[in-house]
């Protein structure tokens, strides 16, 4: 039995500690997971949900989407991964909101939650709400929406552009067929001819030259930049109110990156929509967005307008991010600044500030409780013990006391 235990032990590797699961633990986890997953799946698969259940009111009618205390967990074999752990922010109409953070901090899962595309059955939205307002001003609670109703929003009102243009298009269908599909699906009374006309119009809009030729090509015949343009054209074809761009330029080379970003900004103006831009490139953020949301280990640690975040960062993590970006202001240093350490183990998150073990300004209290969101201006918030509730700096006070 002892030997069996050794063979079966699941390993959880954290930064500061590595723990092993016993067979008993594993059985307990899988039992609990099954129970929880069954509960959520049952709720999700309900048919004929009355509309009142998922109609709601926006906090601010000028927003397209409001995330409110969103929790998205993954029930894995080694424990619960709290990918998104209480995220709240708004996407105003006609604005670009940038979401930054390291890989695995929950940026993509936040956007997938909005699309109801979190990979089930392990991934589940556990708590919180996502409110979406459509063109007629009707508000929907995305987390409670039945699947069939969500199909009418997905791709039509909220469209998504993915990170990997090389693999995001179906290799066995022609570009034209894949584009027409969206138009035919979401436009009432669309015919194959009208769908083709619309697709070609969109391909023109995103600056593709030989449109007819591209329309009849397979994805593998196009370059990465071309494919990303096709993805953008596809996302635009139903005049979405919100485009989620999940690291749209990460896989492209630098010259193409600039073109794609320029294109995104142009089309945003044309369709008067909003963009949720997920990236870990601060240069892109500075260039493109109106509001910035900084995420760390599934939580928002700072949010504000782009000026506030870039000129007056509050959270030590954000400050570190700003320092670690290559640019003309820190050209004298021979090496770029890097934040020491790694993101903590996503399973069994500590009950204190998640940035505690990497923070160079860490204090006693940081290891005891998670800091509350502190308001610095109507738009600028950060979660850090360095500041008092009114936004003043604790360390300054101490200096004065001395």
């Amino acid at each position: 039995m002892g030997l069996l235990k050794k063979l079966k032990r699941g390993k959880i590797e954290g930064v500061d500690n590595t723990t092993y699961l016993t067979l008993k633990d594993e059985r307990r986890i899988s039992k609990e997971n099954n129970k929880i997953i069954k509960m959520y799946e049952k709720e999700k698969n309900r048919k004929h949900v009355p509309e009142e259940e998922y109609l709601t009111q926006m906090r601010d009618p000028s927003n397209v989407v409001e995330f409110d205390n969103l929790h998205t967990y993954f029930y894995t074999d080694v424990g619960t991964v709290k990918s998104v752990n209480g995220v709240s922010f708004d996407i105003p109409q006609g604005k670009i909101v940038g979401v930054v953070g390291e890989s695995g901090c929950g940026k993509s899962v936040t956007s997938l939650s909005l699309m109801q595309l979190v990979q089930g059955p392990t991934g589940q939205i556990v708590d919180g709400s996502i409110r979406y307002q459509d063109k007629e001003g009707k508000c929907y609670e995305i987390t409670k929406m039945p699947k069939d109703k969500m199909l009418k929003i997905r791709g039509k009102d909220i469209a998504m552009i993915f990170q990997e243009p090389m693999t995001s298009l179906n290799p066995v269908f022609k570009i034209g067929d894949q584009m027409d599909e969206v138009v035919l699906l979401h436009t009432e009374g669309a015919t194959p001819e009208s769908a083709k006309a619309r697709s070609i119009e969109m391909l023109n809009l995103v600056g593709i030259a030989a449109v007819e030729k591209i329309y009849n090509s397979y994805p593998h015949e196009l370059s990465g930049g071309m494919r990303q343009r096709v993805m953008i054209a596809m996302a635009l074809s139903c005049n979405p109110r919100l485009i989620i761009a999940d690291e749209p330029t990460t896989a492209l080379d630098v010259t193409i990156q600039a073109q794609i970003l320029e294109l995104l900004r142009e089309v945003k103006e044309k369709i008067n929509g909003s963009i949720m831009l997920i990236t870990h490139d601060l240069g892109v953020i500075a260039e493109m967005v109106d509001f910035v949301v900084v995420m760390y280990a599934g939580r928002i640690i700072e949010k504000g307008t782009v000026q506030e975040i870039f000129h007056n960062p509050k959270h030590p993590y954000t400050i570190g991010l700003m320092k670690s970006r290559p640019g003309s202001h820190n050209i004298t240093e021979d090496r770029l600044y890097s934040i020491k350490g790694q993101v903590p183990n996503p399973i069994n998150m500590p009950n204190h500030c998640y940035f505690y073990n990497r923070c160079d300004k860490a204090m006693d209290i940081c290891s005891r409780e998670y800091p509350a969101m502190i308001r610095f201006s109507p738009t600028h918030f950060a979660a850090c013990h360095l500041y008092n509730e009114d936004g003043s700096d604790k360390s300054e006070e101490e200096k004065e006391r001395r």
Partner: protein, 332 residues
């Protein structure tokens, strides 16, 4: 494309010559040949002398077992084969081509029907299992598939024969026709029904053995496709789960599926040696096994060359199908 085909055909001819040399050598080197098999009893009882046997061997062309002798008889076999004459079967006393064309069709019927059944049962099962991964359905279907794939055919045949034919008496035990029944000359439909009734068990055996593999193959490929980025894109477009699974995912799963299944097509003519023998069905597999045990060199050669051609053809078909179903593949 044509250049590619020509190249492949030239390669195929080379392969076939190599195969024929190997098989010819091996059969010639078998310790007891056809004449030894036939005459051993007479030799023992003294009805024949060793000289008689030697004369017979010379008559059949089996006397000279030295290397040059084998080469000589091989070249003469090759010469007549090139002209389309596979020689006379020792055991059946007929030209090999006649035996092949006579018994091939019943084998093909059995194999083809079970092939179709495998496809229409295995593929939908595989798709459903992959869509509901780790569900009770997935587990039970996988266990069933593994059981089917790992049972030896003679064991499964014996099991079904014992239960369904002997104990329950639902189906006939062996053979292709009921020997005790006498049919009118023009009762074609009744004869057909009688044969079909006899073929139920062998077809079920072959289907049960094959369906697990098809199902597993579909499931594995489907799972891989379902996790790919373009499926996420398809979902993000707002397509229903049905369209995502059966149009976007299955069209990609079809690439490996179609190529492997179409490659199997020619081998359907090859016959199922063990199953046919267990059920005593006069198909090509059954005939081949009989000929092989008795050292019938012309038939062994003819049958094995036929199998080799089918295999080469299968590979060629699956290569061509690759190009048909996958737009990324260009043969050149």
């Amino acid at each position: 494309m044509w250049k590619y085909l020509l190249k492949r055909i030239a390669l195929a001819i080379l392969i076939l010559v190599g195969v024929s040399v190997l098989i010819y050598m091996l059969t010639m080197l078998m310790p007891a040949d056809y004449i030894d098999n036939q005459t051993s009893a007479a030799l023992q009882s003294g009805a024949m002398t060793k000289e008689d046997v030697q004369r017979l061997k010379e008559l059949y062309g089996l006397a000279d077992k030295s290397f040059t002798g084998i080469i000589k008889s091989y070249t003469s076999w090759l010469k007549s084969t090139v002209t389309g004459d596979l020689g006379h079967s020792f055991v059946y006393g007929k030209p090999v081509t006649d035996v092949l064309s006579e018994y091939i069709w019943i084998s093909f019927m059995i194999a083809f029907i079970s092939y179709i059944l495998q496809i229409i049962i295995g593929i939908p099962m595989g798709i459903k299992a992959s869509v509901n991964q780790y569900s009770a359905y997935d587990y039970s279907v996988s266990v069933f598939a593994m059981m089917g794939a790992s049972l030896p055919s003679f064991f499964l045949s014996a099991l079904l024969m014992n239960v369904l034919a002997i104990k329950l008496g639902l189906f006939p035990l062996q053979g292709l026709t009921t020997a005790t029944k006498i049919f009118a000359q023009n009762a074609h439909f009744q004869i057909f029904l009688d044969k079909a009734w006899h073929l139920v068990l062998p077809i079920s055996v072959l289907t049960l053995l094959g369906v697990g593999g098809t199902m597993k193959y579909t499931r594995t490929n489907m799972l891989e496709v379902l996790n790919s980025d373009y499926i996420r894109t398809a979902r993000a477009k707002g397509l229903s789960e049905k369209v995502v699974t059966y149009k976007h995912a299955f069209r990609n799963t079809m690439i490996p599926l179609v190529t492997s299944l179409s490659g199997m097509l020619p081998s359907l003519f090859g016959g199922a040696m063990i199953t046919e023998t267990v059920f005593a069905i006069p198909g090509i597999g059954y005939m081949a096994l009989r000929a092989t045990t008795q050292g019938d060199i012309p038939f062994i050669m003819g049958y094995n060359m036929f199998l080799a051609i089918l295999t080469v053809l299968g590979m060629l078909i699956s290569d061509i199908m690759y190009m048909v179903v996958d737009p990324r593949v260009k043969l050149s």
